[in-house]
């Protein structure tokens, strides 16, 4: 008989990934984030994640804002839903076009990303946190193993809430060449086609008008790198949307 075997426990790497993800998640929630879950091929996982956080099975644990996003045009639905500081958690294979597109765009939306899946891994850096089962069997999503992963994520996140000292925002970064804080090419998503060498662009810091002469023409949905009020390059070569 073909078996998707019971996993042989949780490896040290995945356990460490789960721990880091839970702390990041608790910090974002503590700062007021909403978590948006998506699972295009196995939609019930998105809904299980949302109900887990909104209506905990353990009485006394706080309800946290989590919403499953389902149905067609998922990238558009996520785009209109998320706010800077939010979290997107996708459950999907590495080849899922919608989830891949959402993960690529998330830095422009100021969103922290978590990607749960199995089989071949997504490229390094495809999401902020990757929780992965390397088992190539395509039936893994229906064996309860993903359920274990997001149950653990929920449990660990609530442990983090018992350590409020660790949930405070990190001290302001004063490093002048820090990529996060300086203006060294932030990812932006074009909101409307450029006109007269300028376009409205959404970045993690909000919506701004950006000079596009170096990258024209750009259209709505294109990803660009923004530096000092100018789009200095395109970032959507691999985008398949």
């Amino acid at each position: 008989m073909t078996t998707t075997a019971i996993d042989q426990g949780l490896g040290a790497d995945l356990a460490a990934d789960l721990a880091a993800t839970a702390l990041a998640l608790a910090r974002r929630f503590f700062a007021g984030a909403t978590m948006w879950s998506l699972a295009p091929s196995w939609q019930p996982h998105a809904q299980h994640i949302a109900v887990e956080f909104v209506h905990p099975v353990i009485v006394g644990k706080r309800a946290l804002p989590a919403v499953a996003l389902t149905g067609p045009d998922l990238v558009d639905v996520v785009r209109v839903s998320v706010r800077p500081g939010d979290i997107v958690i996708g459950v999907a294979g590495a080849d899922d076009r919608d989830v891949g597109s959402v993960m690529r765009r998330s830095p422009a939306w100021g969103v922290t990303t978590i990607w749960i899946g199995s089989g071949p891994r997504p490229d390094a850096g495809a999401a902020d946190h990757v929780l992965w089962l390397d088992d190539p069997d395509p039936r893994v999503p229906a064996t309860g193993r993903f359920v274990l992963l997001y149950h653990l994520l929920w449990e660990l996140t609530h442990v983090c809430f018992e350590h409020p000292g660790l949930l405070k925002p990190a001290a302001e970064c004063s490093d002048e060449v820090c990529v996060t804080c300086s203006d060294e090419g932030r990812l932006g998503e074009v909101l409307a086609a450029s006109a007269q060498g300028s376009a409205r662009v959404r970045t993690a810091q909000g919506v701004e008008d950006v000079a596009t002469t170096l990258v024209d023409p750009v259209a709505a949905g294109d990803l660009v790198l923004v530096h000092a009020g100018m789009a200095i390059g395109r970032a959507d070569e691999v985008d398949d949307s």
């Binding site: 984030a33 019930p44 149950h151 409020p164």
Partner: protein, 225 residues
């Protein structure tokens, strides 16, 4: 369920136990180590429960799969349902039957996917009837009902299983703890009990049991043809 703000960490019920230490804690290294250790311990617990659950339910899986395979072969269909997280797990199982990544599809649906029907029934006739009324409308003698629950006591599921049995369906119940009302009910033909006190661990084991039930149905269908 409380709707307190996510920033209300100072109201965490266990906080009074360590009023000073927590708010001054600033190095996450030790917490991250504890979290990873805890994750591995819980995963090991889940693994052990899944292993013993498959073992103790092995004969029942074969018997239930044989009856389900007979019914599918004769044109029977499967309806799955549950509440909350168990509703999503029952939907996953229905999807595995209807659109398996490997193998042939069998007719199966989740009864929680249509919000219009759920809210119409919940509002007009009461939540206890949200699944049984759908079975009255759709199910026939020869079909299969699968109810997933951790308590085994949910009134809407108990009611639906009674209706299912009355209509000549083969009834499969998934429960946790000691099996709850499902275990004692004459309306449940096959009751799979995951003997744990943890809702999370129960659901994880039920996921694997459902998967095993699906794969055994396909073995039985292959043997019969």
């Amino acid at each position: 369920m409380s709707q307190e703000s996510a920033t209300g960490a100072q109201q965490e019920p266990t906080n009074f136990l360590y009023p000073f230490i927590d708010s001054q804690e600033d190095d996450p290294t030790s917490l991250l180590g504890d979290l990873a250790t805890s994750a591995r311990a819980k995963a090991a617990e889940s693994f052990e429960l899944r292993r013993t659950t498959l073992e103790s339910n092995a004969e029942l899986v074969v018997a239930a799969a044989a009856e389900m395979a007979r019914r599918f072969a004769a044109g029977g269909r499967l309806f799955a349902f549950g509440n909350g997280g168990s509703s999503t797990d029952s939907t996953t199982l229905a999807m595995l039957f209807a659109r398996p990544p490997i193998g042939s599809p069998l007719p199966a649906w989740s009864l929680t996917t249509d919000q219009a029907i759920l809210t119409a029934l919940g509002n007009d006739v009461g939540f206890e009837l949200v699944f049984s009324r759908q079975l009255i409308a759709r199910a026939k003698d020869g079909d299969i009902a699968v109810a997933m629950s951790t308590s085994g006591n949910s009134p809407d599921l108990v009611t639906a299983l009674r209706e299912a049995k009355h209509r000549g369906m083969y009834t499969v119940g998934f429960a946790g703890y000691q099996g709850g009302a499902f275990a004692a009910s004459p309306d449940v033909d096959a009751c799979f009990v995951v003997r744990s006190q943890s809702v999370h661990r129960i659901q994880e084991a039920q996921g694997l049991l459902g998967y095993r039930l699906w794969s055994t149905v396909h073995e039985q269908l292959a043997d019969a043809s």
